[in-house]
């Protein structure tokens, strides 16, 4: 087509015209499709791409938003040698680890129970999922009272059945466990719903075959259900870690920007908030966000590898 266009301009006028209109029509059609995408891509450029690039640039500057000076890698050096920062990394991973490795097995067990119980499936779904839709901010406030060391209902119940009580949020040594409890409570509904959706997708023929072979309910669960759920577990593991590494809302409500008591529940997100918006050290905060970003990427990659999840 293009050759006709270049070489035979004069004697193929009509064909040439045709080619032009089809081409321009196509171009016009493509253009229309781009209009469909326009709002989203303005959004991506302005609110995703630009901030990521700008944040990278800022991490090499000393900046408070108005006055900037280039200082090279000093922000990164400052963050990476800061004990406070590594403490937040430790807190974030500690809370995330226990949240994930308590919630996924527990949620899966509940999902299996809900899936196999004859009556009240819908009722249980509603009850178990409710915490997940309510805001984590309100949930954190409620837990402040539920886990109150002296007046809280949790300690009272523990005491009543003869179990040791805890100081929860009022003591640095136990505050993290309070957050973990809250996180488990808030996330478990999500894990249950995702597990349920996937449990119902396992083909019933496998169970029938196993039944004929004489497998008990528990055996079926161990040797059919669990292996078939590995993809779901991988998904929960990855989304769970991505969410955990960004934890901010509940620890801010419970401990303020510096995660009191004694920075015991300050997360990476809270560190960034503290440096960025209470100290207005934008450069340091940006360097920290990039370190956090890299941690999330590496960790997601490792998780993908470990869980052998196929994207």
């Amino acid at each position: 087509m293009a050759q006709i266009n270049e070489n035979g301009v004069e004697n193929t006028v009509t064909i040439n015209d045709n080619v032009e209109t089809i081409k321009s029509k196509k171009r016009k059609a493509t253009f229309t499709w781009y209009i469909f995408l326009l709002p989203s891509f303005i959004g991506i450029l302005l609110f995703m791409a630009y901030p990521i690039v700008e944040s990278f640039r800022l991490s090499f500057f000393k900046s408070n938003g108005t006055i900037e000076s280039f200082i090279g890698l000093r922000n990164f050096q400052l963050v990476l040698t800061s004990k406070t920062f590594w403490n937040t990394v430790w807190n974030t991973f500690f809370i995330g680890f226990f949240q994930i490795f308590i919630t996924i097995p527990l949620g899966f067990i509940f999902a299996s129970l809900i899936n196999s119980v004859r009556r009240g499936q819908n009722f249980f779904k509603v009850v178990y999922f409710l915490p997940n839709v309510t805001s984590i901010v309100a949930a954190a406030m409620i837990f402040q009272f539920v886990l109150h060391p002296e007046m809280g209902v949790a300690n009272y119940a523990l005491n009543a059945i003869g179990l040791p009580t805890s100081t929860w949020f009022s003591d640095p040594s136990t505050a993290k466990w309070g957050v973990i409890l809250l996180a488990v409570w808030h996330w478990i509904g999500f894990v249950i719903i995702i597990c349920l959706a996937n449990l119902q997708a396992i083909s019933p023929e496998m169970y029938e075959a196993a039944k004929i072979d004489g497998a008990s309910g528990l055996q079926q669960w161990l040797f059919i259900t669990i292996p078939n759920m590995s993809g779901t577990f991988a998904f929960l593991l990855i989304t769970g870690w991505i969410g955990s590494l960004q934890r901010f809302n509940e620890v801010y409500v419970l401990g303020g920007p510096n995660g009191s008591p004694a920075r015991s529940i300050q997360t990476m997100g809270a560190f960034i908030y503290e440096r960025g918006f209470t100290g207005f050290e934008f450069g340091i905060a940006s360097a920290a966000t990039y370190i956090m970003f890299v941690i999330i990427l590496i960790f997601t990659f490792i998780n993908l590898r470990v869980s052998r999840m196929q994207l």
């Binding site: 509940f110 119980v117 805001s135 901010v137 406030m141 409620i142 999500f190 990476m268 934008f282 905060a285």
Partner: protein, 280 residues
Amino acid sequence: MDQKTSERISNIVKFIILLVCGTLLMMPFVWMVSVGFDRTANITMPFPPRLIPETISNFNYGIVFENGRLIKSYINSGIVTTSSVFLQVSASLLAGYAFSKGNFKYKRLLFILVLCTLMIPMEPRLIPLYTLFNSFNLLNTFWPLILPTVINGMLIFLCKQFFDQLPTTLREAAQIDGAGEFRIFFTVYLPLAGPIAATMVILSFIWSWNDFMWPLVVLNNQDLHTVPLYLASFSLENGTSLGGLTMALATVSILPIVVLYLFLQRYIIQSIALSGVKGE
């Protein structure tokens, strides 16, 4: 016969386990409501904790509503949530449709770009977005809360999946009748998109109503605080000293979401399971 009875017993046992654990899970909510209605709780928490208040009174609720800030924050959250839901859902419908039925250069590449946005957390974007809106003098307005929600990779993805299921023959028929792309979208496909639009409205409503970190950064003016911000500031100011008031406030703050959830739970659960996304 024997197997039947054992199955029955195991069923009952499972049911009881679920009931007990479910009750434990609901405990924080139950206690929240109870303390909120307790006349004494605004001064000190009752001890030993009781599940039924000694005297049920709306004292705490009276104070919470009299103080105009709660209602103000409700209005603010209402404005932000409706606008952001509208913007997000419209943009996602348009983009999802284009990625499903469209035929243009770089379609795959652009779609991958959309999916990449799912992996970008809020934190690295916080400061640049803050300075961006600052330079347009839009801090302490609702614009920063509304405009960035225009892009949501998850919703675009869901939308594309939905349109993929709709037949392409509809398009071809309309094309033969001479309809342009926009006409086809608005008159043929959009009316069929009800279920996915409803799902997206629910999801984005929950996300937007519960959003916390970004509003916290952008809104310093207390008059503009959304519900979660007002809650958090109340909690940080009063700590655990005003139990009853705080719990009454928490109850009122989660009420819209709980009501929405109870009415639409089947669809919410379905769409969460479908999208597999964490609603925070």
